[in-house]
């Protein structure tokens, strides 16, 4: 899933300082799972904003709504009849949701309510870690199912570097060395000899480097 984290409330207050009718808009997908932008967090943020407005003696109307998804026009259309009541939207969806909402309602300011962080997994409640950077050419088949692009601080393809110490990365002893994990996994699969195969230069044109990307699937287009 896409993992997001809460933005500092002060930052959100600053965005909203000139607005009087605000919709706090959650998303029922990834940001709900990572407890940053679902219905519950929409309620918490809306309450905090109301308290702030009341403390400041401002009259501000703050409504709450959570869509099934903000990355899908079908669900964003549910806002069509009510959007005119608001002069601003705070979207607690990931960066995709914020942008897609803004694209649908072109004359409405849509502010981000979370920081979108990475594609990752839930290790335990309150701990999410990165697994994928969406480079567009998956090499997990050759690295024991562990991604050096997402998980090595230097995204080394033939690693590990000389800073790997007792399984930890040189940047921080709380970060696993991706190449230690790869070596351990190749060993468990009895494929450690594959470590010695040279990984060729990566084609980054399918990555961010190639510019904004799209996936076109004619087979599923109507």
């Amino acid at each position: 899933m896409i993992v997001a984290d809460k933005k500092p409330i002060e930052e959100i207050i600053e965005y909203l300082k000139d607005h009087k009718n605000i919709l706090v808009l959650g998303c029922n997908e990834c940001v709900t799972v990572c407890e940053a932008g679902g219905k519950k967090e929409v309620g918490v943020l809306a309450s905090a904003l109301r308290m702030y407005a009341s403390k400041e003696g401002k009259e501000v109307k703050i409504d709450e709504m959570t869509l099934e998804r903000q990355c899908d026009r079908e669900y964003l259309d549910e806002l069509r009849d009510s959007i005119d009541q608001y002069d601003a939207v705070v979207s607690l969806a990931c960066g995709v949701g914020v942008q897609f909402t803004a694209e649908q309602y072109h004359d409405k300011p849509v502010y981000p309510g979370v920081n979108t962080c990475f594609m990752g997994a839930t290790e335990e409640r309150g701990l999410w870690t990165e697994r994928c950077q969406g480079c567009g050419q998956c090499i997990l088949a050759t690295t024991g199912g562990i991604c050096p692009v997402a998980r090595c601080a230097k995204r080394l393809f033939n690693g590990p570097c000389g800073g790997s110490t007792t399984g930890r990365c040189e940047i921080n002893t709380e970060v696993d060395c991706a190449w230690q994990l790869i070596v351990d996994r190749l060993k468990a699969l009895d494929r450690l000899d594959e470590y010695e195969e040279l990984c060729p230069l990566k084609d980054w044109s399918t990555d961010r480097a190639g510019g904004p990307r799209k996936v076109v699937r004619e087979d599923v287009q109507q």
């Binding site: 570097c161 800073g163 110490t165 040189e170």
Partner: protein, 310 residues
């Protein structure tokens, strides 16, 4: 082994001499006097001098410019190049620029992470890694082509090196990792600073078992300790560094004013011992901001005078 480049370092190694290299960090400013002075201090006692490339990610005068300074003084520079800060366009371009000044040695590295330096908020590049950089230089030199496939007008005549850290984890792939560098085309290796000689010799045994010492020249890396504080810092704070407690105890066993001399003594003894280690083709003496000690170490270790590499 026959030589493939005009590198003086390659020539000395190919003639079977134990080579001696050292390294200088460029200044944190544009004044070149600093690097010229360092070069003067060591020029008669080493065969080649590495110029570090923004080591520990602290921004400095660039390695290429400092290499040119040394070259103009008649020294033999080794251009250190990290893949952290440049993509494949910039790497190839700088290789050609260096070659145009007859800089005939390159050390291919990935580089320390930028979080250690003065720009921790900066982006890192890592378009390719150190092993792929070895391949890239060999491709340019031997095939006479850019990575993109176009013909080069003038091939970079570079002797290609890389680092090896026998002390980093996982230990079991440290020999295979050298094998990968050899397969990529590396011609010489300079190792991480060696304080745990037993572990280094164990690694060398693995290297010999695979015959890797016959496919590349291995220069053992040594850094004299200046003090107990430095030894403790390196033991605890420098990732991938293996400083046994005995080294610290030995430094603690002498008066504070004599610790530096004891550190130099340990360094000389290490060289003496490693001269006997089959497969060690030379020594890389990294006296960090202590270049004036290099001549003393080289002389006391019986590595002086240096052969004429011309």
């Amino acid at each position: 082994m026959t030589t493939k480049t005009p590198s003086k370092l390659e020539k000395i190694l190919s003639e079977g001499h134990l080579a001696v290299t050292s390294e200088c960090g460029p200044p944190r400013g544009s004044n070149p006097e600093h690097i010229i002075k360092k070069g003067e201090l060591i020029k008669d006692h080493v065969d080649a001098v590495n110029i570090t490339d923004n080591q520990t990610s602290m921004t400095r005068l660039c390695s290429l410019a400092a290499c040119i300074r040394l070259k103009l003084m008649g020294l033999e520079p080794v251009l250190q190049m990290v893949t952290r800060d440049r993509n494949r366009i910039a790497l190839q371009s700088d290789i050609l620029g260096a070659a145009s000044f007859d800089i005939n040695n390159i050390l291919c590295l990935s580089g320390d992470h930028q979080s250690f330096g003065d720009c921790p908020q900066g982006q890192n590049v890592h378009d390719i890694d150190s092993i792929q950089l070895i391949q890239a230089v060999r491709h340019m030199r031997d095939e006479g082509k850019f990575l993109g496939g176009d013909e080069l007008e003038g091939r970079p005549q570079m002797f290609v090196g890389a680092a090896a850290n026998p002390f980093a984890d996982p230990f079991e792939i440290r020999v295979p990792r050298l094998a990968k560098k050899v397969a990529a085309g590396v011609e010489f290796i300079q190792t991480q600073c060696i304080y745990n000689l037993d572990k280094f010799e164990e690694w060398m045994k693995g290297v010999r078992e695979r015959g890797l010492h016959k496919k590349c020249y291995i220069l053992a890396g040594l850094t004299p300790m200046k003090s107990v504080g430095m030894a403790k810092y390196m033991q605890k704070r420098v990732p991938g560094m293996d400083v046994p407690d005995e080294v610290i105890k030995r430094l603690q066993g002498v008066d504070k004013g004599k610790q530096a001399q004891e550190g130099v003594k340990i360094c000389i003894e290490s060289i003496q011992r490693l001269k006997e280690c089959e497969g060690v083709a030379g020594f890389h003496v990294m006296a960090i901001e202590w270049e004036e000690k290099v001549p003393e170490i080289v002389e006391a270790a019986g590595l002086y005078p240096r052969p004429n590499g011309n």
